[in-house]
Amino acid sequence: MQKITRDQLITKAVELLSNGTVSAVLGWKKGEFDYDITPAVFTTEEEINNGFVYNDFCGANFSKYLVAKTKKLEGKILVFLKPCDSYSFNQLLTEHRFDREKVYAVGIGCEGMADVVKLKNKVDGIVSIDYNDDGMYVDTLYDGTVKVDYAEVMAERCINCKSKKCVAYDELLGEDGEVIDSARFDEVASLEAMTPDERFAFWQGELSRCIRCNACRDACPACTCEKCVFDNPGSGVENKAPVTSFEEQMFHIIRAFHVAGRCTDCGECSRVCPQNIPLHLLNRKFIKDMNECYGEYQAGAEVGSRAPLVDYTEGDLEPGEVFERGENDA
């Protein structure tokens, strides 16, 4: 359950709209179902009062929307940044992807978001959800009202939350948190500890589900290229519909490589994947390797930092030594 309430956000949004600070508000609205929340732009108080929602399914990272929205809009846009989103926000500023002057950012604390898939695995036929202090009360078609603990359905990325600290905002609602010493790399480490055959089998099992819908790319706040190489006929790797089985691997490896050092580990890729492929494990592998080889680095922690792959030192590990390092650790 979020400490920040919908009412708080609406009050803030309406205040900023009416005093002219912003001309639009980037927020969440209800989709087809209660748990199916979509991002929306609101421009009037009325729209906000009718449509604005905020609950445990408002996981979407809004930073990316700023790239397009700030270019189109006259005046400022209000964006609510959860800690995760604030890292992406900074990273996009580092890459000069939008004009900071055109954004009014309100930082909001986050208690961890729920995972729709986890919820659906627990209860069938969801009609509506009531958020109470002691848990969600889910009204269902078949089983009446079912109570679900927040912890039971918390998203993996939130269980392994890396930071509750908002690193960018003009104004903060509620209290700021701290960077957390999370266990987010444990799963990567357990994969690393497997034999190559086991790893191969694991990834084969995961990646074979990919349908190349591009949702991961479209949601990723690091994937804001004006034209993605996979959409560009001149790049030599364009493939909307895969021709060979290999192209998915290529897509996921290249995508992970392109965002390496820029990925803030917000977990949107895995959240939006309709096939539930744990794509964040690819990104976290890069983050873990870079942390271990080139020193701790958190993309987006500050604006203007130099990512490990656009930097070097004379004494860096050789590629072969990077393998050996894994060996010694094991």
Binding site: V188, L191, E192, P196, D197, E198, R199, F200, A201, F202, W203, Q204, G205, L207, S208, C210, V229, G236, V237, T244, S245, F246, E247, E248, Q249, M250, I253, I254, A256, F257, A260, L282, K285, F286, D289, M290, C293, Y294, P308, L309, V310, D311, Y312, T313, E314, D316, L317, E318, P319, G320, E321, V322, F323, G326
Partner: protein, 144 residues
């Protein structure tokens, strides 16, 4: 019918200033290495995009080796330092996906190291031959 002896397909990216010259020197000195190695000339090892490497695997290469100037000797002062980081990360990722780590390699070969070039290629071809055909990257998606 006799089984055709397995010959791997190796793509070697060599930087123009050191490693390509090192390969030329291996030739000048008539140092043999398997014809399975096909060299592509690039201005600097840092020109090699991971996409090229994956593309080679996609089209059936069994091993890809990247050769550049020794760290500190880059013709462009710092190119190979970036190569080192990029390839360390890329190869570690391929390893993570279960691709045999012997299929990829970065080696620093100077223009004077013809012998090293030939020895490196002999060794690399031997290792890749032992692994056999590269199926994994192709098969990563297809669960049979």
């Amino acid at each position: 019918m006799q089984m055709k002896e397995y010959k791997p397909l190796i793509v070697a990216f060599c930087c123009n200033w050191c490693s390509y010259a090192g390969a030329d020197l291996a030739g000048n000195n008539r140092l043999n290495y398997p014809a399975d190695v096909k060299i592509i000339r690039v201005p600097c090892s840092c020109r090699v995009n991971p996409m090229f490497i994956l593309r080679a695997f996609q089209r059936g290469a069994d091993g890809v080796i990247l050769c550049g100037c020794h760290p500190g000797d880059c013709h462009y002062t710092s190119g190979n330092y970036y190569t080192r980081r990029r390839m360390a990360m890329l190869f570690s990722m391929l390893d993570y996906l279960g691709i045999e780590r012997e299929r990829t390699r970065v080696e620093w070969v100077s223009a004077a190291e013809g012998a090293k070039f030939a020895a490196t290629m002999n060794d690399f071809v031997e290792k890749v031959t032992a692994l056999g055909e590269n199926k994994r990257l192709e098969d990563l998606r297809c669960k049979r």
